[in-house]
Amino acid sequence: MRRVVAFVAAAVLVASACGANDSSLVVYSGRSENLVGPIFESFTEETGIEVEVRYSPSEDLALLIQQEGDQSPADVFISQSPGAIGLLAGQGLLAELGDDTLGLVPTEYRSAGGLWVGLSGRIRVLVYNADLVSTADLPNSIFELTDSVYAARVALAPANGSFQDFVTGLRELHGDDSALDWLEGMERNQAATYANNSSIVQAVARGEIDMGLVNHYYNLRALAENPSLPSKNHFFDDAGSLVIITAAGILSTSQAREDATRLIEYLLDADAQEFFSTETFEYPLASGSTPAAALSSLASLESATYNFDDLSGGLARSRELIDASGLEAP
């Protein structure tokens, strides 16, 4: 018992010694450390501004920021999905960005209200197992997946933010009725529901299921670790291959907007954009940046045309449609 008391005392001392530094920037990041950490480090090296980061799923961070309200310690929020950051924008929790910052990104990849900018893009794709699916069988349109040819062969992750954002995009482009029809069609076609993108890519790679709807870069990363995998990405010609952006905004409660702005501009700088392109296999969104050679051009996709503000605002409705389709009941 004495040992325990001594230990607790020691632990409390250590903990109180590592208190937060007031002059630093606090970032809530929905991008995981592997996908953004090195950029924060070089930002600190170049500017001398310390960056303290809380890494969590974007949805959880959005809930946390809502709960914190005007007491949030965060200055910058980086979201993996437009849904989460759009929700905060709609609730007045984000500050308007300056024109200089907004000007770094094409209008289609930033919020119309100037509350957030896109950093990088992921494309929704069909990942398929090349040993099990012949290229002739691959669909050109997302709507073909409700055909009986694809019965019980397609994996989805309906609880995942990216899928919910995709449904919002589908509604935006084709209307709620078409979106619900498609969801119900997938349910009738015995689409298999999985937890998330990663688990779908792994399941496809080992032949557990023929194909699945995911963001494009999960398979590229899986292949980077294990090039012998039979999983391949297939792009749709239509809304199936939407762009899902990752985005950053400054909290309206931030007391360090100047430093926060510098960080966001740094994330849109050529070096950071190249990091997103070459290290994480994403599409850089800053004006003038070009995707890595391995990635096809963004402009060729229908997805580049819709309004991300609507995409984020419609999250609740998309959730209702997914629930109504019965897709998730096993």
Partner: protein, 534 residues
């Protein structure tokens, strides 16, 4: 000596009024543990009508599946954990010292990592193709049992450790043999620990999201997770439903109680010979260790090696997270051992309303998903004026959150230990003129130590693998091995997932051995066995 003495509550010692300090401590504990429910109830009411929301969403299916999985996992984990404890503490099973550590370790593997690795280990296209891939109800049952049976194993082992040989000897002298002694003496004596463990497994299963989602079994937590941002009123109403169910489950298990202990004497603890079953039992334990520990570890190693990263670099980057994990685990475990003692005394010795309230509230918070619990903590801390709000995202607050979430693990184990103190001891010490503090230190502490340490150990291990609350409540930059595992796994960095998971298992193993298994003497002595059981 009677084999079954009267229940403690009929004795005069327990009919004295509850000391005021104990009462106050009980109410404070109750209030702290009730805070998440008040938050859920309040926010649900604020955002909409609870019954409307439930009526709109398809709640019956997920709720029934949650309950089915929780009861099946609880039953299987109790069966496995109970027998393992017996084998390792009370028999001469060869290799029991190593098994004793190995079988406790699956507890530290986060359930989502266990699910992902077992799906990568077994099934067509996986490492071992001829075994069916875990999936659905059976898959979830298997994976969750593999990571939760130690919740039964550790407290029961602690109880068996202090159970005196005299009762068993008495039963044997009356003609009982083998299984009859187990059924008539051992199980009743270990009942509080068994039931406590099974409750913890049931609540854990109800709160789990990671494993069930990966194994594609649709429960309440999936519904909460899917709607948490898009439809918070639904998520909150479902969370409230889950906690009401947890309260009901906890109150059912409150009815059990065990007979009070008699003089424990570790030196005379009866050790049975496994005799002719030796090889079968070794095979069974090996099979369990293979499934719950070796298979996940094997997958971690494969992921790591396939990623082709430098060994030294990888582990060096994990030094800080490893220190943070150990610090958080040790502090939470230690704090649980001390801070939850009053509650254990109340529940073990009193029948007051305070005792009932504290027992229920401490249990039910464990069924809440970590995210819900974390948001409740944020809600209360930021609304409390003064120094409390200053604790926001500090280490002490993180520890409090762990305590509120995992307190039941220490509480049940400690309660079982306190109940097992033979009442005659306290009476004797009192007659010899000892004050309450002296009685506690000289009589109670030595007797309850194994149970208290086992409970603290459970909290430590649970803390080390905790993810959602750690992500939201830890001080900035306080990354743990569990958050590292998540950060890598979420985006498909399997090599990093493997290394961080290996580090988590290694550190937990070390701490479990040094701090839990050795001091609590949860492995049978090496001395030769006394007479065989059969």
């Amino acid at each position: 000596m009677r084999v079954a003495s009267k229940r403690p509550r009929s004795q005069s010692h327990y009919r004295r009024a509850t000391p005021p300090l104990l009462s106050i401590a009980g109410w404070v504990t109750t209030l702290v543990f009730a805070a998440p429910f008040v938050y859920l109830a309040w926010e649900t009411t604020r955002l909409g009508n609870f019954f409307d929301v439930l009526g709109r969403s398809d709640v019956t299916g997920p709720l029934l599946r949650s309950l089915a999985l929780a009861s099946a996992t609880s039953a299987l984990a109790t069966f496995i954990g109970g027998w393992l404890a017996w084998l390792i503490v009370r028999t001469d099973l060869p290799g029991r010292r190593i098994f004793g550590v190995a079988v406790a370790l699956p507890l530290v593997i986060p359930s989502y990592v266990a699910a992902a690795s077992l799906r990568a280990a077994f099934g067509p296209g996986s490492l071992i193709g001829w075994v069916p891939r875990p999936s659905g109800f059976l898959g979830a049952l298997l994976v969750l049992t593999a990571v939760t049976y130690p919740y039964v194993y550790l407290p029961v082992a602690a109880r068996l450790r202090t159970m005196p040989a005299s009762l068993e000897d008495a039963a044997r002298s009356l003609g009982d043999t083998g299984m009859a002694v187990v059924r008539r003496v051992v199980i009743p004596q270990a009942r509080t620990a068994l039931v406590g463990g099974s409750l913890i497994v049931a609540l854990y299963t109800m709160s789990d999201f990671g494993a069930v989602s990966l194994l594609r079994y649709d429960t309440m937590t999936r519904a909460i997770f899917a709607s948490r941002l898009a439809a918070p009123e639904t998520a909150l109403a479902l969370g409230l439903t889950l906690s009401l169910v947890a309260l009901a489950v906890a109150s059912v298990t409150r009815k059990t109680s065990q007979t009070p202990g008699t003089a424990p004497n570790a030196a005379h603890m009866r050790v049975y010979s496994v005799g002719k079953y030796r090889n079968w039992l070794i095979a069974a334990v090996l099979a369990l260790v293979t499934l719950a520990l070796v298979a996940p570890i094997g997958v971690f190693v494969v992921w790591w090696l396939r990623g082709g990263q430098g060994v030294v670099d990888s582990f060096a980057a994990l030094r800080d997270p490893a220190v943070h994990s150990a610090l958080a685990g040790l502090t939470a475990g230690g704090a649980a051992m001390i801070l939850l003692l009053p509650a254990a005394y109340l529940v073990a010795r009193r029948t007051s309303r305070t005792a009932a309230a504290v027992d229920l509230m401490v249990a039910a918070t464990f069924a809440l998903p970590g995210l819900v619990l974390a948001l409740a903590v944020v809600y209360w801390v930021l609304r409390t004026p003064g120094p409390i709000a200053g604790l926001y995202q500090s280490f002490p607050l993180l520890i409090i959150a762990y305590l509120v979430h995992f307190g039941v693990q220490s509480h049940r184990s400690t309660t079982a230990a306190v109940q097992a103190i033979p009442p005659q001891y306290g009476e004797a010490a009192r007659m010899l003129g000892s004050g309450p503090i002296r009685r506690f230190i000289t009589v109670d502490v030595p007797l309850i130590s194994p149970g208290v340490i086992a409970g603290g150990g459970l909290v430590m291990l649970s803390t080390m693998k905790e993810l959602p609350a750690t992500l939201l409540l830890a001080p900035l930059g306080f990354d743990t091995l569990a958050t590292r595992v998540w950060g890598a796994a979420a985006d498909g960095f399997l090599a990093d997932t493997g290394i961080a998971s290996l580090a988590l298992v290694a550190i937990s193993a070390l701490l479990t051995w040094i701090l839990v298994l050795r001091p609590a003497q949860l492995v049978a002595p090496l001395q030769s066995a006394s007479r065989p059981a059969e």
